[in-house]
Every structure is written in structure tokens, then in C-alpha cells.
């Protein structure tokens, strides 16, 4: 485990000398800004429309209407951006032949897997920090709840990290960046749709299978955080997802040895 930081450091530096990181960062900033402005103007409209209903106006608040929407949109943006960030994590090593360098160096496979995950997670943290910047603007002009604002950011962070773990695994099982990108996208969209699938699905709602499918859905555990509810069961979900994908990624990296 001594070399997690070495691997992560190299990965981040490579990310930042390529246009990918800057492309993703600027694209993300622009998209986040657009969603923010749209949600803001929508909030303004709602405010105007409800002027003649004071009781409803009293229930209107920045968190439930604006930030909830904003964070929700960002989680979808992450879903499409993260496959682009993670697709090269392992495929690039295979293309460069550096896989052989890593596996013949005094590193453990965990050094490699955790290092690469850490690099992706740090990048996502930077993206979420940009989101936090937008949210903090609201504190200047309004009075959002600190708790809900930060728990929502935490939700975005954990969702992003889970997506990175999944994307890393996809990158480890193929040699092609495009294939890694597509696998990640398909898995992430499936995870998003799982609650719907479980309701209409084959198993029938309420059954064990349907419940399991529902539990697997990221949305189900992200929503409580959006609403300011930090439940250890939801945190455990993210930990389990990240942990399991890291374990299978380790197996996939190791598999070059016995293939």
C-alpha cells in the first residue's frame, strides 16, 4: 500500500497534460452553469407566480426547489462525463505496454487499483467543488440550509466516486477505450433505471428480486442525501458499491497473470 500515492500522482499528472481533463472541467463548468441559471430562473418564476398565495410562498425554499433540482441535474451530467474520465485508466496502460512495467515493479495490485481509483476520486472531488462554488453563491443572496446544501454535495461526491469505481472496472476488462466508455455508460444508465425496472419488471414489485434491484439503484440512496437525510444505510451502500467494484477490478488486473 506504500505506492498508492505514487500511482495516483502519475495518473493525475497524465490526466492534466492531456486535453481530456481540461475538456471535461470546462465542459462541466459550462453545463453546471447552464443548469444553475435555468434552475434559478425557474425558481424566480415560481416565486412570482406564488405571490398571491402567501401560505404556499412560505413553503417555497431555496433547497427544496433550487438546489434539489440543480444537484439532480449534476448527477446526470456526472453519469455522462465520468465514463470519459475513467475509460483510459487501465486501457492506456495496456496500450503503452506499461502494464508490464507496473506488474514487474515492487508494487502490489492494490497499489495500482487504489492509486487509480484515488486519482479518479480526486478529479471528481474537483468537479463537485465547482458545484459547491455555485451553491455558495446562494448564501450571498439568500438563506439556504447549510445542512441540506452540504449533504447534497456529499451525495454527489459519493455518487461520483461510485461511478469512478465502476468505470475503472470497465477499463480493466477491455483493451479498447471506446468499449470501456460504452460499458460504463450502459452500466450507469442501468443503475439509474433500476427503480423503474424493479417496479414493472419481470419479478413483480415487492418480491425479493425487485427489492434487491431497487436497493442497487444509486438514485435510491442519493435522494435521501439530497433531502438532507444522512443515513448510515445509504453511506454503507456507497461503501459496498465502491468496495465491490474495486475488488473485481483487482481481480481483472490480476487476470493477465493467469490468462
Amino acid at each position: 500500500m506504500r505506492h498508492v500515492a505514487s500511482v495516483a500522482g502519475r495518473e493525475l499528472r497524465s490526466l492534466f497534460v492531456s486535453p481530456v481533463a481540461y475538456g471535461v472541467l470546462s465542459l462541466f463548468s459550462v453545463l453546471a452553469g447552464m443548469f444553475f441559471i435555468l434552475d434559478l430562473s425557474w425558481f424566480e418564476q415560481a416565486l412570482l407566480q406564488l405571490q398571491q398565495y402567501p401560505d404556499q410562498l412560505a413553503e417555497l425554499n431555496l433547497n427544496d426547489l433550487l438546489l434539489h433540482e440543480f444537484y439532480g441535474s449534476i448527477s446526470v451530467v456526472l453519469l455522462f462525463l465520468i465514463p470519459g474520465i475513467t475509460m483510459g485508466l487501465y486501457t492506456a496502460e495496456k496500450a503503452n505496454g506499461t502494464e508490464e512495467l507496473l506488474l514487474t515493479s515492487p508494487l502490489t495490485i492494490w497499489d495500482i487499483v487504489l492509486g487509480k481509483f484515488a486519482a479518479g476520486a480526486i478529479f471528481i472531488t474537483a468537479l463537485v467543488a465547482i458545484v459547491g462554488l455555485f451553491a455558495s453563491v446562494l448564501f450571498i443572496y439568500g438563506d439556504p440550509e447549510v445542512g441540506k446544501t452540504t449533504s447534497g454535495l456529499l451525495g454527489l461526491l459519493l455518487t461520483g466516486w461510485t461511478y469512478v469505481a465502476i468505470g475503472g472496472f470497465a477499463s480493466a476488462i477491455t483493451r479498447s477505450q471506446i468499449v470501456a466508455f460504452l460499458i460504463t455508460l450502459v452500466v450507469l444508465v442501468t443503475l439509474l433505471l433500476l427503480p423503474g425496472i424493479s417496479e414493472f419488471g419481470i419479478a413483480g414489485s415487492g418480491s425479493g428480486v425487485a427489492e434487491t434491484l431497487r436497493w442497487l439503484s444509486v438514485q435510491l440512496h442519493f435522494d435521501p442525501l439530497l433531502n438532507g437525510l444522512v443515513d448510515t444505510a445509504d453511506l454503507a451502500y456507497f461503501a459496498v458499491m465502491i468496495g465491490s467494484f474495486l475488488v473485481v477490478t483487482k481481480a481483472a488486473v490480476e487476470s493477465v497473470r493467469w490468462r
Partner: protein, 297 residues
């Protein structure tokens, strides 16, 4: 072995082997009680893929300071054997000892003692030469304080000082090969494993790389004397730099002798090669073709 463990970094302490003892196979008892002075030992290395046998029962010991040419036609199992020696591939059977460390029970220490240049040099095209070597030094466990010096020395030994700030992707093939060699020696390992280090280079670059390898095995002050295994199918290369030849054919070792002994009766290496690879080969013609360019050069 004890000296090794005390050093704790997997490198062979220089004092443990006096220079004049290197020649003898059993000279330096102090360094390794298992393989008496043998830095590399392959013990019945076997690799099977299902029913296909890639390498079978390869046995050899290489003493400190030796330069061994690992010969064989394409597909004979050279790369597979080297990958097993470096720990990249686990053998189906048998094991390898590197500087006294078993590659499979103590892989981290064994890998620390190896510098490895695979067939395609492992390079990150987007990194600068210097920072790439610094990264390799880091993951090869070179202590932080010595890293800068290690990189400088590797750059100097491979004559890369002029391009140290260049991005690897912009370098020519010959330079990339040199960077590949530099990453193999940056941690000053006692064992160097080079898989076809001159493949695909022009004659001038080939000569450069050969000179370089020759220099590596005749160390200057402060460098570990390196033991080298070099795979190739170019016979002239072996003639130029190796003192011992291990010839494998169809996954089996067929010749293991000093070069001088092989060519003592006036035969050329080309003849030896053809004789041993063609006689029991299923496709004698193919083996003969493979040996062709070596004989011509």
C-alpha cells in the same frame, strides 16, 4: 542470503562479492546460501496454456556479472521465459530465484532486484523523459533522497541528457528504446532482463544500444555490476556482447555453453543455431529462414 536480508532493500551489497570472485561459479559463498553466487536461477520453469506447452523444464543458473544471450527462433518461448523470470507471468511449474529471492514466495523483493525492458518499451507518451524516470525510480523503491541522483545517472548512462525535458511521444524510435533501457537501470538493479533490445532499430542505433549494454556490464564507480540476460534472434548481437549462450527451441533448452566453447571447433554461431533448431524442429525450413538474417550480418 543473510547479508541480503540485512541490507533489506533487495540489492546485493557490493562488499559481499569481490570482483575477482565473479568469474567462478561457486566463489562468493557469503552472498547466497541457496544458489551460491547465482544471481538468477530458473528451476524447471514450465508454462502451459491448456494442452499447448510454451516452455518446458527450463533450468539454468547465471552468476553475477555474466552476460547471457538468450537465443531461439521466433516463438521458441524466449519472451514467455523472460516474463516468468520477471514475475509478470506465473509459471505452471517450477520457480525462479532472483538475487536469492523466490519470485513467487517473495515477489516484491525479487522484483526490486530486476530491471526489465520488455519487447515494446513501456513508456507513457505524454510524460517527459525526466519525470517518467523519476516515477519509475519511485515505484522501484529508490529512496526519496537518492531519486534525483538515480535519474541523473540513468540519463547519463543512456546518453539521454539532451532530451531529458522532452515529451516521450515526440522522441524517435531509437531514443525511445534508450528511455526504455534507462527505466530498466534507473534503480541500479543487480539483474537486467532485456527482451530483444535492438528489435526494429536501424544499424546505427543497434550499434549504440549494443555499446550501451556492454558499458552496463562493465560498471563505473558507484554502479552495481549488472548481470544481463538478453534475448534476441540476431546472432551477430550475441557474438558482439555475450559470453554465454542459452539456446531454446520449441520451449526447451537445447544449448547452454560459453560462446567460446561453442565456436571452439571453428564453427560459426550460425551453424550451431541451425543445427540445434532445425534438427528436431517440425518445420526445419522455418527455423532455417529465421536464422538467415543473423548469418548474413
Amino acid at each position: 542470503m543473510f547479508a541480503n536480508e540485512k541490507a533489506g532493500d533487495g540489492r546485493i551489497p557490493r562488499e559481499s562479492v569481490a570482483a575477482d570472485e565473479v568469474v567462478g561459479f561457486g566463489g562468493d559463498v557469503g552472498f547466497n546460501c541457496i544458489g551460491v553466487g547465482h544471481v538468477i536461477q530458473a528451476k524447471r520453469l514450465t508454462k502451459r496454456y491448456g494442452d499447448l506447452v510454451a516452455v518446458e523444464d527450463i533450468d539454468f543458473s547465471i552468476a553475477r556479472g555474466e552476460v547471457v544471450g538468450f537465443l531461439g527462433p521466433n516463438g521458441a518461448g524466449k519472451t514467455t521465459t523472460m516474463r516468468m523470470l520477471t514475475g509478470f507471468l506465473p509459471p505452471t511449474d517450477g520457480t525462479a530465484l532472483i538475487a536469492g529471492h523466490d519470485m513467487f514466495s517473495d515477489p516484491i523483493a525479487a522484483r526490486r532486484a530486476i530491471g526489465y525492458l520488455p519487447e515494446t518499451p513501456p513508456l507513457y507518451p505524454e510524460m517527459r523523459v525526466e519525470s517518467f524516470l523519476a516515477y519509475v525510480a519511485k515505484i522501484k523503491d529508490v529512496p526519496h533522497a537518492e531519486r534525483r541522483a538515480a535519474v541523473d545517472r540513468a540519463l547519463a548512462r543512456t546518453a539521454l541528457n539532451d532530451v531529458r525535458r522532452q515529451v516521450i511521444g515526440t522522441l524517435s524510435k531509437g531514443f525511445r528504446q534508450r528511455v526504455g533501457l534507462a527505466q530498466a537501470i534507473v534503480h541500479n538493479p543487480p539483474v537486467l532482463i532485456l527482451d530483444e533490445p535492438t528489435a526494429g532499430l536501424d544499424p546505427l542505433q543497434i550499434r549504440e544500444i549494443r555499446t550501451l549494454i556492454a558499458e552496463l556490464t562493465a560498471p563505473s564507480q558507484g554502479d552495481t555490476q549488472q548481470t544481463v540476460i538478453l534475448s534476441t534472434h540476431i546472432l551477430a548481437e550475441v557474438d558482439a556482447i555475450c559470453r554465454r549462450v542459452i539456446l531454446i527451441n520449441q520451449g526447451r533448452k537445447v544449448v547452454d555453453a560459453p560462446l567460446s566453447e561453442l565456436t571452439a571447433d571453428g564453427r560459426t554461431l550460425d551453424q550451431v543455431f541451425t543445427e540445434h533448431t532445425a534438427s528436431d524442429a517440425a518445420f526445419p525450413l522455418e527455423a532455417a529462414i529465421v536464422s538467415g538474417p543473423g548469418g548474413a550480418s
